[in-house]
Subunit: 109 residues, 4 copies
């Protein structure tokens, strides 16, 4: 099952989220066996539902060490028979997407 997790410290002392975000990524990396990929707005995950919910639980616990208020947002996309989607979905777009590039990291003119 694919998922995306976004954790936002709200009542933090300072606004730079880097320390909290790396603590969250470390939690996923070290306290789960999930596949994951960090993006600029969250982390995509792949695994079974119980393991995903356990990771959400652990990340929630972690973020609350850093702040008095936190938002935790989870999106699950569960499709019968789908596996390996974290890699496959992007490969599929590369092959069958008619050549549209999957990223543009400088502003188009």
């Amino acid at each position: 099952m694919l998922a995306e997790l976004r954790v936002t410290p709200v009542g933090a002392q300072h606004e730079d989220f880097a320390e909290v975000v790396s603590a969250i990524v470390r939690t996923i990396a070290e306290r789960s066996h999930l596949q994951y990929a960090v993006n600029a707005m969250g982390t995509t995950l792949e695994g079974e539902i119980d393991e995903i919910l356990a990771a959400v639980r652990a990340c929630h616990e972690e973020v609350r060490k850093h702040c008095t208020r936190a938002l935790v947002e989870l999106s699950l996309d569960d499709r019968a028979g789908a596996e390996g989607e974290l890699v496959r979905s992007l490969d599929h777009l590369r092959r069958f997407g008619g050549g549209v590039p999957l990223e543009r990291l400088v502003r188009a003119r």
Copy 2:
């Protein structure tokens, strides 16, 4: 401003989203100047609010050509003075994240 956009065709004839997803990515690539990066659950964007909302408008129009019902989800993260975050936020994590890897594409043992 950073954003993430997720477009899900609901009332589609078939369940494989690849065709719709590539039409959405093409819409962002060709009808906006936004920076973007596709991930397995959506597309992160960077640009000004008016351009982001115009892209949401165009993607909504596009997805409704393919299905009778669609979900469109937009998250904006607007921080004063932040620019170039689509690239910088991940670079920052790589440098100051204490060595935690930003992705793991095979299941951990």
Copy 3:
């Protein structure tokens, strides 16, 4: 802790979600002790994190009986010391919101 849960059957035979939505609400009502309030786009919840995640688990199981693909979206807003927010937050707005109405169910002219 406050939360909102949205469950969307994607690969369903038909597009009317009412049957699935009532099965989801029944799952929350009968298989949890959470406080909840259904709105047109989801269900707000209040309770402890373990009970919320257990309800997400049960609702996910329920929705997948009805369709081959489902989206499940959970937002948690956890604030230290906050309790009774499902009712209190709206009461607070009614009292201190300067008279702005909390709903308008017919289109403004």
Copy 4:
């Protein structure tokens, strides 16, 4: 078209969101003709896409007066031919939901 909007001030001086939330609700009430209903986690909306996106634009502008960082989250659910859903969807559940209550504001024993 149904929508839900959630606006979260992040880099605010204080953590009580009530002032910001009432400014957001006032923006929707006074600067749009949309139908709306406030819940504990956001505001459901109904109207045309251009009017919804204009309201998102106005609410974003408003929240940034109160803080240096803000999250704005919009979910659109657009179904061909659906109108009056803000009221109808809940009525439908009341009639055909098999008697499941749409809210429980005290904790179940």
